[in-house]
């Protein structure tokens, strides 16, 4: 088991390293002039040239990658090209914000998805299943900003329960942010749950049809007992990986939802930094995304270990 975890960690590090190379190479290929982006439309060509030189952007890419990597392993990710602050500080601000809505989205989304998926799977092809299936199908068929915009119109303009947007900016204090994390969180939860519901549902159906579920019933156990103790652990297993991928997505892919709510999360930072060609920031965001991906998958593996005793001890008789 430790061997397994160590192997997974090793592969994770490899993945992150590879991802950093990929991202670095891709960012090199971006057109446009970093200095021009930073200094804006009304800057002079001389100022742009000077900035290019100060930023060491005239060195060959391999050398720049290596020096970046050298710094990165020591925790130094450079300074933001756009505002000159250490990249770590810049990214941390946005990461903190992202973590807030990701947490809300993940907790709500997963809870919702599992609950609905189990209900749908248990009442297969009955009314609750049909309703849930239709809703989840619609949920995954409408663009995410539609969901977000509807939430704003409903819960903030029509019934002013939540603030429509974040007015406080990236460095807002926690107390300023907290009222604003709910709507984006709901939107993410809805988008994420739509997929996971479907997978949970078919997994529950599979497990319910398995020999052991049938035999649990034949032993005269009560339905709640069968669902909770016999079916649930096995039914959740195959959904873990999907949940992991979705959680990783919450860390970087939510730019549209963030835009609707003016939420200063990593997606917004990515959008800004791509437009600023702020490569050190993007590089760190990519690393964070990769780490999140690796961690979420590791977490899913750990979840699988916890749920599935077969993974904990190698199979075999005695």
């Amino acid at each position: 088991m430790t061997r397994f975890l160590l192997r997974r960690l090793g592969l994770g590090v490899l993945t992150i390293l590879l991802a950093s190379v990929l991202v670095f190479a891709a960012l090199q290929a971006l057109p446009g002039d970093v200095a021009g982006q930073i200094l804006g439309r009304f800057s002079s060509p001389e100022a742009r040239a000077a900035l290019t030189a100060t930023l060491n952007l005239d060195q060959p890419p391999v050398q720049r990658y290596l020096s970046w990597l050298g710094g990165a392993v020591q925790g130094d990710f450079g300074t933001s090209l756009a505002d000159g602050r250490p990249v770590v500080d810049v990214v941390w601000t946005y990461l903190r914000n992202s973590l807030l809505i990701a947490a809300v989205g993940a907790v709500l989304g997963i809870a919702l998805a599992f609950l609905l998926g189990i209900v749908a799977g248990t009442f297969r092809e009955k009314l609750p299943d049909n309703v849930i299936s239709v809703v989840s199908l619609v949920g995954m068929s409408v663009p995410e900003y539609t969901v977000a915009t509807l939430l704003v119109l409903l819960l903030s303009v029509s019934i002013p329960l939540f603030p429509a947007v974040v007015t406080a900016g990236p460095t807002a204090s926690l107390s300023e942010l907290l009222p604003a994390v709910w709507l984006p969180g709901f939107a993410l939860a809805v988008v994420m749950a739509a997929y996971v519901v479907r997978i949970t549902r078919s997994s529950v159906i599979d497990v319910l049809a398995s020999d052991f579920a049938v035999h649990a019933r034949l032993r005269g156990l009560s339905t709640p007992r069968i669902l909770v103790h016999h079916v649930l652990p096995s039914a959740i297993l195959p959904t873990l990986n999907v949940v992991a991928v979705n959680m990783a997505w919450l860390f970087g892919g939510v730019v549209v939802v963030e835009a609707v709510f003016n939420y200063p999360g990593l997606g917004t930072l990515v959008l800004q930094s791509v437009s600023n060609r702020d490569l050190p920031v993007l590089q760190l965001v990519a690393i964070i995304g990769a780490v999140a991906y690796v961690l979420c998958n590791l977490l899913a593996d750990l979840g699988a270990l916890a749920l599935n005793p077969r993974l904990r001890t190698p199979a075999g008789g005695h």
Binding site: S141, L153, V294
Partner: protein
């Protein structure tokens, strides 16, 4: 009854003539499952509308009309008009002409690449598999919005770029899914038999593995096509989508989203079109996959 060996068991129903062993069950299965039928109908309606748009649309979708700006539904404009005085219904009807082929092409290319690589990895465990999976993992671990923005910033907007973006973002996941599905098939005896005959890898993939993972391929095609449709609309939202005045649904939604409170049809129309097409894709694929024997909605990664 000639020999007891091949005598049909008694009593027996008159053997139905088996014409096409593949199409027969599919058609029958579709007719029997209301969901699949609904899904297929949705897709067919969309395809037909896209083909016949010039005939059924009441107005030209790209002609501006300064005299009928932002009309509500009625007066010949069933769903009203947009800011440039164009008929929203006509634009919705034409919308499939842009999105549908794009989604299909992007999905086919993405799933095609993913399928070939996934099957290859399943057949050649070892170094090839390891390296491929590491690359796949690495690409998957890059936040997709970053990958997307890089592709779009590099190549601009438009159809081919969307296909490229879809390939970059989605094919690694498809590789994983197909590899997992193919791994279920590879150890089976008929694959061993083919290998024992000395068949080449591609022949084995094409003849033995592919037919048994088509359900997965269907589901993936539908899912990736849906993703592409949503991607196009998200891209339009971010300003990287179709070029105006193309009557693209995503573009329409983003053009008209400020209208949502006053003239909802400008946004609701294309969203309904988009959603019904996606629902159609998914129901059809789920249904076909089920008819092909396995209910593997499970294989989404």
């Amino acid at each position: 009854m000639s020999s007891p060996l091949d005598a049909p068991v008694l009593p027996t129903a008159p053997a139905a003539p088996v014409r096409s062993p593949v199409l027969g069950p599919v058609v029958r299965g579709v007719l029997r499952s209301p969901q699949t039928l609904l899904g297929l109908t949705l897709v067919v309606v969309h395809v037909v509308l896209a083909l016949l748009a010039p005939l059924v649309a009441p107005f030209d979708p790209v002609t501006n009309d300064a005299t009928s700006i932002l009309l509500g539904p009625g007066d010949g404009h069933l769903l009203g008009t947009d800011q440039l005085g164009r008929d929203i219904l006509s634009r919705v009807l034409y919308g499939g002409r842009y999105s549908l082929p794009l989604a299909v092409v992007a999905a086919v290319v993405t799933v095609g690449i993913g399928t070939v690589l996934g099957c290859l990895a399943a057949c050649h465990r070892g170094a090839f598999d390891e390296i491929l999976m590491r690359i796949v993992d690495a690409v998957l671990s890059v936040p997709s919005i970053l990958a997307l923005l890089v592709v779009v910033s590099m190549f601009g907007a438009g159809g081919p770029v969307i296909v490229l973006a879809a390939v970059v973002i989605y094919s690694p996941a498809v590789v994983r899914v197909l590899r997992a599905a193919a791994l279920q098939v590879v150890p089976l005896d008929y694959v061993t038999a083919a290998r024992a005959r000395g068949e080449g890898t591609f022949a084995v993939i094409r003849r033995e593995i592919l037919p048994n993972v088509v359900d997965v391929v269907f589901v993936e095609l539908a899912m990736r096509a849906s993703f592409v449709l949503l991607l196009v609309s998200s891209l339009s939202f971010l300003g990287f989508g179709a070029n105006p005045p193309t009557p693209d649904w995503g573009l329409m939604v983003s053009e008209n989203r400020t209208l949502l409170a006053v003239l909802p049809w400008g946004t609701v129309g294309p969203i309904v079109a988009l959603a019904t097409l996606i629902i159609g894709f998914n129901l059809t694929a789920d249904g076909l996959a089920k008819i092909r024997g396995v209910d593997r909605t499970l294989v989404g990664v």
